[in-house]
Symmetry: C2
Subunit: 160 residues, 2 copies
DNA sequence: TATTGTTATACTCTATAACTATA
DNA sequence: TATAGTTATAGAGTATAACAATA
């Protein structure tokens, strides 16, 4: 049930941030760049659990939109250091607003005290499982572009 | 966090049932056949949210292993009715044992009363979200064969 | 020689759409 | 003509491995 709910919450969140033209993976990278600015692409790719060859076009898309910036490291010119641009930081702030709204809506059935209870229980589980506070679900196989792959079959398919 | 934990739980569960040579999607179909025996392939595919063309080889694999059975409907010979075989029912029972063990291990950090609390809260959320008690995370894009796609990079990649 | 970023290739997987049999 | 099951094909997406530049 936890897995089912988690997948459902992730799906709703993906729909919500699609209005910002972002995928969950892109949102994760923005957050990561905010927490750990100046990392190399290699490091970021490893943190996200994706091969470097996939990270390159992934970052390309966000760079082309002016959300992140590649700066050459002068002491080791093989390395790029990645940073959020001002525009990227702005989008991240809007993203956080959406995340808060998402959580509020998703937990609307719970009283505030229950919401706190749930959060505390989940946090304990996450700690025991050794999960980092950052978000690392399954970035190894997550959509890195928001292109709907041409005619998609409507977001709300009959599922019974 | 819920999404992250859910994905993690699903991953651990997938590793666990890989010992039974089952993927989460296959496990879901076995459970579904147990709850709703005799449905047509079309119906099952729709319930799982996958296109019929994908369902066919998906069911083929389980049929070849003798876990499910296709029976022709005599009144409408276009239709198949799918049932668990005895062997399939046996495997499902072992699967349920694994699921229980998985939940126990995953929630080991919680006292029994907390475990109950968590379950109750999640159930409330699931009801409000209109999720069916059956398991429907994201079968539309889930591994339907347990072939590891040749050399996989080790199940526990560095993820930081 | 080792490492970073990048590109190319080969491969897997998927959905769309055709096809056959039955209604 | 419409529907169930099946198969074929074309396209997207991925990882592996090669590559150039720098250390």
């Amino acid at each position: 049930m936890l897995a089912q709910l988690g997948a459902h919450a992730a799906e709703l969140f993906a729909q919500r941030i699609a209005r910002l033209d972002l995928t969950p993976a892109q949102a994760g990278l923005l957050r990561l760049l905010d927490r750990e600015p100046g990392r190399s692409q290699r490091q970021l790719a490893e943190i996200l659990g994706m091969p470097p060859s996939r990270f390159v076009p992934f970052a390309d898309g966000l760079e082309a939109r002016g959300l992140l910036e590649r700066r050459k490291n002068p002491s080791d010119r093989r390395l790029y250091a990645l940073f959020l641009t001002e525009e990227g930081a702005e989008l991240l702030s809007r993203l956080r607003g959406e995340a808060a709204a998402h959580e509020k809506q998703f937990c609307a059935a719970l009283a505030p005290s229950e919401h706190q209870q749930l959060t505390a229980l989940l946090r304990r589980l996450a700690q025991q499982q050794g999960l980092r506070p950052g978000i690392h679900p399954g970035y190894r196989s997550m959509r890195t572009s928001s292109t709907p792959t041409a005619g998609r079959p409507a977001p709300d398919e009959p599922r019974v």
